[in-house]
Assembly symmetry: C2
């Protein structure tokens, strides 16, 4: 079956997804009989394009990456993301606009609009899950469509889909792990003797920390991911400010050095567990020793251990690849897997 | 929908599955509208029973566990496993007869018979996968049924289903890990100062090693699991004898002690990687240090790291639960998950 795709947000992740789709074009056709066109693109700084007959994606990538506008590729006059959704005649929308942690907007509006137009909606945007999971899931169901978000945690590796498809009726009791790669890389570099500030600068230089690193360093990103995981997998809404949260700013070079002497390591540990009707959730630095599965997770690795009523200790770990820093390609794969998932039904 | 289940083999794993099904009866009904009856049971030493109206499973469990025959529960005269399959009027068959590593029989015949009668066939028996994966999968497809075997590796935790459902079009390039829990527990106990023979005896005493421990100790069990993984996930048939194999008999107390001094550990490592059209596979003791994800896997834990074209380093680890030894309950969950998977379609 043929699918029209629209992309709201066309940054590194979305462009990696376009490249992955192109690379897998033949396999999609031969394995699942899936063909596709890209019929709408909304960018932050390079304009908008709609063409229900299919946009030349090679040209779109080239234009954005050389700093040009994609407007000349449009057969429609469109001036904002909602207009792209509306006129794209897409049946799948990929939402990858920048995350707003406090409101989830405008991503939530994009997903709402797409679902209302009968499109499956797939996003890497944590804000949509944390602020509107129940509403968007109910809306999707009422339209016979899907709202999917695999790429919001563990960088595109399967977690939500594993629970949904491969662990039916498993009750999640608690989970614990490292879910912010940036702070883990900072702590790893501090163990090698680098100062905190220099480690932050390094993370900024390779593009995994923002100019203002507080989202990572103060534990907000981890708290938001804990909220998303608890909300979906424990079926209990949990907001980031309900997570007891402490970042890594108080971890000094001296503390890291002392831990190393004792064959221990500081890790920013995220956890959640059910306590009656409530979820007790926490993000905080912890000293772990070699008996902990977290001890060996270095650099930009991340991972979670899940305790369920049927499998007591199931862990997923996403390790740093030699010379690679858990880049947009992996996040793009989560969106790609969601795409195949929703169209297979 | 209502499903009739038959059980070929009724040991610890099958009985754990029956208990899990009973515990989840309401959730199966409310979540998936699945109801079930057990209409056939074949045991190794406690007889056979068929009742198309449903066998009282409480009585069946009680009889087997108190050493009695289940024959009085039968409304049919049946004298072997194939007769149970034939007369049970089941639409799902669970195959859990003892594994024959060299031929996969009689399990393969059971699966073949069940598929030919239009039953989905679910097994924890590695022999069926290693010796007849392609044949049984093709037969299942020709009948519009499924042949499933999640419980054959990593004790019931999702691996095959993760690749099938949650990692579409991921090409598996290589994998590496610890997949024999018994040898890992032996090596862990040796690190604590126990002699090899005593560690083996301990494993026998808790029921995770056989009277003849050579299947585990000489690496055969690991080699068979490598074969199953490569055959299915790399789509390339690989027999156990094609796996370069070395067990842990040469690992002396002195070697383990010396490794400990150097903050290293001996692990029985299983691996496979694609080399052109071939799979190069190996089971062998390796010395790992704290930078290895295998270092922290102690006791009866096991785990695998998968390298794919889309996710370069995705690991699944199944850890020992405090006071538990990766028992039949977890293996039973893999069969349970396969059951829900096949009936959801």
């Amino acid at each position: 079956m043929h699918h029209n795709l629209c992309f709201i947000g066309f940054g590194n992740v979305a462009r990696s997804l376009v490249r992955l789709l192109e690379r897998k074009r033949e396999a999609l056709k031969s394995t699942y009989d899936i063909t596709y066109s890209v019929t709408g693109i909304a960018t932050g700084r390079h304009g908008f394009a709609v063409n229900p007959d299919g946009i030349d994606v090679g040209q779109a990538l080239e234009k954005v990456e050389s700093g040009k506008s994609i407007a000349p590729l449009s057969t429609f006059q469109v001036a904002d993301s909602l207009a792209v959704i509306q006129h794209s005649q897409a049946n799948i929308m990929f939402e990858n606009s920048p995350v707003n942690y406090e409101t989830g907007q405008p991503a939530i509006d994009h997903v709402r609009a797409a679902l209302n137009l009968g499109m499956h909606s797939i996003t890497a945007n944590k804000g949509t899950v944390v602020h509107a999971y129940r509403e968007l899931t109910a809306l999707a169901e009422s339209k016979g469509k899907k709202f999917r978000f695999e790429s919001t945690v563990l960088g595109g590796s399967p977690v939500f889909s594993t629970f949904r498809e491969a662990m039916p009726l498993a009750e999640l009791i608690s989970f614990k792990g490292i879910i912010n790669a940036t702070t883990n890389l900072i702590l790893s570099r501090m163990e090698d003797g680098e100062a905190f500030d220099d480690a932050v600068k390094y993370c900024q230089s390779i593009g995994i920390a923002e100019t203002d690193p507080s989202g990572d360093v103060d534990g907000w990103d981890a708290a938001i991911k804990v909220s998303a995981l608890a909300t979906v997998l424990m079926n209990t809404p949990l907001k980031p400010h309900e997570v007891e949260r402490k970042g890594i700013r108080e971890i000094t070079a001296e503390m890291v050095k002392q831990a190393k002497v004792e064959k221990k390591r500081w890790k920013l540990v995220a956890s959640a567990e059910r306590e009656g009707e409530r979820i007790k959730a926490k993000v905080s630095p912890e000293l772990v020793d070699t008996s902990s599965p977290l001890y060996g997770m270095m650099g930009s690795s991340s991972g979670l251990t899940f305790s369920t009523d049927v499998l007591p200790n199931y862990s997923v770990i996403v390790s740093e690849r030699e010379g690679m820093k858990g880049g947009p390609e992996e996040t793009a794969y989560g969106l790609f897997a969601d795409f195949i998932g929703v169209v297979r039904g």
